[in-house]
């Protein structure tokens, strides 16, 4: 059974709020897009074949897979070292600071660095495409259309 949430008035307002300043989208031929855009049952518009969306999805997926596999491998490797390589980790590097401490602080450093890098990557290479697609989708998807229900 399909849900229809009854109270969405305030949520539907301002679909263009985030149509911001990125203008490179003008490179794309609007007519080309309109052939790809197909409206379907729920009023949401499909742009699945749109090369920009394919690019956006690919960028997000590769970065996410790289980020998560890297982080998990580095973290589980670190746990593995603390469990099985204790003779190595107890070597002092500077004063009382041993390799175990350096690796632990290294987890902090890599987390800070990767969070900053991912955020920068996303805002530079993904947000502009997303904003452009959202703008175009929004203009075909006027507020108040029956069926365009925020869930």
């Amino acid at each position: 059974m399909v849900e229809h949430v009854g109270y969405t008035t305030s949520e539907q307002a301002e679909p263009h709020r985030h149509a911001d300043s990125w203008t490179a989208g003008q490179r794309w031929d609007a007519r080309e897009l309109s052939t790809l855009v197909v409206s379907h049952g729920l009023g949401t518009v499909r742009v699945h074949g749109d090369p920009r969306f394919v690019l956006l999805r690919r960028r997000f997926r590769t970065r996410m897979v790289l980020l998560l596999s890297g982080v998990l491998a580095w973290y589980l490797g670190y746990i593995g070292l603390t469990a099985f390589a204790r003779d190595l980790l107890i070597i002092d590097v500077y004063g009382s600071v041993n390799i175990a401490m350096v690796l632990g602080l290294g987890q902090f450093a890599s987390t800070f660095l990767l969070a900053w890098m991912f955020g920068r990557f996303a805002s530079r290479t993904m947000d502009p495409i997303a904003a452009e697609l959202r703008r175009e989708l929004g203009s075909r998807n006027t507020p108040g259309t029956p069926g365009q229900v925020s869930r």
Partner: protein, 562 residues
């Protein structure tokens, strides 16, 4: 609290502690008055579901980053981890690392979840599979995680209030639990998400400032040389340099028993997996993504949270080793076997060295008030998360078939907050003498094993369907709880030297089958496997809805607005 103090010193100590306790109560009263004022303001400015559930979606990334920090850093982080570092050294630090690294998983998902959902975790699978049973399963997992976590926090709150007031009397602990519970109900019922968010922001600022102050004071004693701090900590500890090395508490080597050594090390992996994979699926963290205007703001707020939480966990290192060096292991163990009093004791010692008895009382009172604020804020957001799920998912989408009146649903959320709060108070009073710290680990494990498969597969697997959701949640939930019931936490664990019973149940009951204390390493794969099997055994498949979800999650088109 003062049983370790020799009689000769009793007079001065009692008066000192009395003044400190009075000051603690005064500071706590100030905090409560301020937050109740905010609650009244929030009540006046809460008009509908978006205000009550999502604070109007108008919080900025910095505000929400602070609020996420406040949500995430419980008293277990502030007092518990610092205490563990003080007693067990490096192994306590492993918790800090796990709790922080977990946020790397949240970072890419935050934006997608914000773009897809509206208020609760169930909105995400519910968008692809608008079915009642999907809502019911998600609500079940959400409420379970919240209640486990809440129970652990409430029992700790009772003990903490008693410690802060300076007795261990049962009546004080019950009063502490009831007091914290009633405040939590008031915050959530009247303030909703707006009130809760400001509560978290104030608490996060207090917690970060308080920890930073103590950290600077500790480092000043050691000439701002971390290496000197570590040397003093290991010199003062009976463990010596082992304090700075892994293996004292987690993944211990048992000489002559290879099997037990391996079990201990697997347990360490299991703990690490549970910590890292559980955070991304904690319901009270998820609902915070909906309080910002859009997906980009959700991502920025997670970046802020990572910076603040990372800074805090770095400080736990200084707090813990500082307590080991300045207070000393024996003095900490005398007060509390689990080390929860290490930071208050450290504050007292530092304050005394700065400003005599008055300085000690002031700093102790401040840190104690921060600890209480920490507990209050976390229990409030847990109550909010579970009442939201009950009202939005169970009432709105199941009882009312997805067509509730907005005012009705918010009213139900308020009632649910009261009900959840009263149930939590009752359970916490019943469990007040039990060591329920394992419930935090169980909550993380259920989140990782039941919620995470549903979130990840909903977002990234085209074939995923509603039977997958049901089986995944059931598999993760049942396997986590069963494995903990059969683990050494519940029965069959004794101290190898003294023969003392270390489990929850009395020594004559032994149902221990599963050797690990942390179920993650088994339960998380079981959760994912059940979700995949459930999906493949059912023909339901809607690629169009999945394409909608992809488009919406990545571009934010049609996402819920403020």
């Amino acid at each position: 609290m003062s049983k370790a103090i020799p009689d000769a010193a009793l007079d001065t100590t009692v008066s000192l502690e009395f003044s400190s306790h009075a000051l603690t109560l005064l500071l706590c009263a100030l905090f409560v008055a301020l937050t109740l004022g905010i609650t009244v303001w929030a009540r006046r400015n809460t008009r509908g579901a978006v205000d009550f559930y999502a604070g109007g979606r108008r919080f900025g990334p910095v505000q929400n980053g602070l609020a996420l920090t406040g949500d995430y850093l419980s008293a277990a982080s502030f007092l518990g981890i610092a205490g563990m570092i003080a007693l067990w050294g490096y192994d306590g630090f492993l918790y800090s690392v796990g709790f922080l690294v977990a946020w790397m998983l949240v970072l890419p998902l935050a934006q997608l979840m914000r773009n897809t959902g509206r208020f609760t975790m169930a909105d995400l699978p519910g968008y692809r599979m608008p079915r009642m049973r999907v809502r019911a399963a998600c609500a079940c997992a959400t409420v379970t995680v919240c209640v486990f976590y809440l129970l652990a926090q409430m029992v700790a709150a009772g003990a903490l209030v008693a410690m802060l007031v300076g007795t261990t009397a049962t009546s004080t602990r019950i009063m502490g639990i009831v007091g914290v519970g009633v405040l939590m109900i008031v915050y959530v019922m009247y303030g909703g998400m707006k009130g809760a968010t400001w509560l978290q922001i104030i608490k996060a600022v207090l917690l970060l400032l308080g920890s930073a102050l103590v950290c600077v004071l500790v480092l000043a004693q050691f000439g701002f040389d971390p290496s000197r701090l570590l040397t003093s900590a290991s010199d003062a500890s009976s463990h010596g340099t082992q304090l700075l090395q892994p293996g004292l508490y987690l993944g211990q080597d048992v000489p002559g028993d290879t099997a037990q050594t391996l079990v201990n090390k697997l347990d360490l992996f299991s703990l690490g997996l549970g910590l890292v994979l559980g955070t991304a699926a904690l319901p009270h963290v998820l609902i915070r993504f909906y309080t910002v205007p859009d997906g980009t703001a959700a991502r920025s707020s997670v970046r802020w949270a990572i910076a603040l939480i990372g800074a805090f966990y770095l400080m736990t290192l200084v707090l813990g080793f500082g307590a080991a060096a300045i207070v000393g292991r024996d003095a900490i163990l005398d007060q509390d076997r689990s080390g929860n009093t290490a930071v208050p004791q450290l504050a007292l010692a530092l304050g005394e060295s700065l400003g005599g008895a008055v300085g000690g009382a002031v700093l102790l009172a401040f840190i104690s008030a921060v600890a209480l604020a920490t507990i209050l804020a976390v229990v409030a957001s847990l109550t909010l998360a579970s009442s939201m799920s009950l009202a939005h998912d169970v009432f709105g989408h199941i009882v009312m078939w997805g067509r509730p009146k907005e005012s009705q649903e918010v009213g139900v959320a308020r009632v649910c907050a009261a009900v959840v709060g009263v149930v939590a108070i009752g359970l916490a009073i019943l469990a007040r003498d039990l060591n329920v710290a394992f419930l935090v680990g169980l909550a993380f494990s259920v989140a990782a094993a039941a919620n995470l498969p549903v979130i990840l597969l909903s977002l990234f697997w085209r074939r995923f369907n509603s039977r997958g959701v049901l089986w995944g949640i059931a598999g993760g939930l049942v396997s986590s709880i069963t494995l903990v019931l059969l683990s050494p936490v519940v029965s069959g664990k004794t101290d190898p030297q003294t023969g003392e019973n270390l489990s929850l149940l009395p020594a004559w009951i032994n149902i221990q089958v599963f050797p690990l204390e942390n179920p993650g390493i088994v339960a998380i794969p079981v959760g994912f496997l059940c979700a995949v099997l459930g999906t493949l055994t059912c023909r339901e498949y809607d690629p169009e809805r999945y394409q909608d979800l992809q488009l919406r999650s990545l571009t934010g088109s049609g996402a819920a607005r403020s």
